[in-house]
Symmetry: C2
Subunit: 215 residues, 2 copies
């Protein structure tokens, strides 16, 4: 195998990951539109994004053994492969979580009663913003931005705690809505965590260091 | 680096993974004891298991670059490394989820009101049984058992659906308890999914095939 063909495969891998990350961003944005407005067109878009994410996931999984089968892979190649395995799993989960959020919006409407709109909208916006950052650092490989993202793992935690306090406190929109919103809050929080994890992988890729604020 | 030293490192990796899997089993069993009985001793045990899982996680993460830095790793070595990266992440999540379950048990008691005891106990038992299977296949490398486990990813789904129907239906234990139990149900379901994922990795390790019932 020529070194040129080898580099081509690595370029292909980073290209697949970058595309996947863009689908994760649109998936969560569309999922939020479904959740807040029961928007059927947005629901179809989430389904399409998830299908593309699934395709890309499988392409990446198929590419990895090929990359590892190279003779004498260098350390930075192996780091990319390890990071790719982790990011692929993270972004697949992001797609699945966006799907779960959208599904709640297709159930009872309004899925987000007035009492919870501000908080859920803030969680949704935070999750989408983190996904966008993860998509950007994946393309730019900006070490500082990636490290900042890697340390952003608590921005949704405070919002989620506030949401739970609301749902289990003076809540007057009924138990079913509370149960649904608790799940939605959890989905956004997990989505955000996976976006942060992508940032952590990019930082690892660029610096060789695994950054974590807490074990 | 001699081949013997090399094999020693791989043995060390499989040993660390096996130990981690046993801590995941006891963590979920103890978390269930905390949830059902507010058992303080069990809560301390969960904390201890999580600390051990965290240690093992870091040891595995540290070992992986060493293994990859070997000259001319063979295909089965690389497969073990890839599977180890994934299993390490799965089992760390299993520990975290057990911690979340235990935390709910240390809040309001009874955390599981009579109306939900049967279902939550069934979810807990299913999750623990899957974790045990994952721990066993990790040690035995039994291809058939690993493949069976890899396809077991829907056993908790039906129970979780049943739990949600209860919480959002004729539920008379109040909204806070419903919100907590919805989360607990989700934690057991995710815990079980990660145990199944470990089975999938073992199957991949032994057969070279990635088994999945659905993307």
């Amino acid at each position: 195998m020529h070194r040129a063909a080898h580099l081509e495969d690595f370029d292909r891998l980073t290209g697949l990951l970058a595309r996947m990350s863009r689908h994760a961003v649109t998936a969560v944005r569309n999922a939020t539109a479904v959740l807040f407005d029961g928007d059927g067109q947005a629901a179809a878009a989430v389904t399409a994004d998830r299908a593309r994410i699934g395709d890309l996931y499988r392409q990446i999984e198929d590419l990895i053994p090929t990359l590892l089968a190279r003779q004498q892979p260098v350390a930075s190649d192996l780091r990319l492969v390890m990071a790719a395995v982790r990011m692929n799993a993270d972004m697949q989960r992001m797609g699945a979580l966006a799907g779960h959020i959208a599904a709640r919006g297709l159930g009872r409407q309004p899925a987000v009663p007035p009492q919870a709109r501000r908080l859920v909208a803030a969680m949704a916006e935070t999750a989408a913003a983190l996904a966008e950052k993860s998509s950007i650092v994946l393309s730019t490989r900006d070490a500082i931005a990636a490290m900042q993202l890697a340390l952003d793992d608590d921005v949704t935690d405070a919002l989620q705690r506030e949401l739970f306090a609301l749902l289990t406190g003076d809540w007057h929109e009924g138990t079913p809505a509370a149960v649904d919103l608790a799940m939605v809050g959890r989905f956004y929080e997990r989505f955000a965590d996976h976006a942060v994890s992508v940032g952590r992988q990019v930082a690892y890729l660029v610096t060789g260091l695994m950054i974590t604020s807490e074990p």
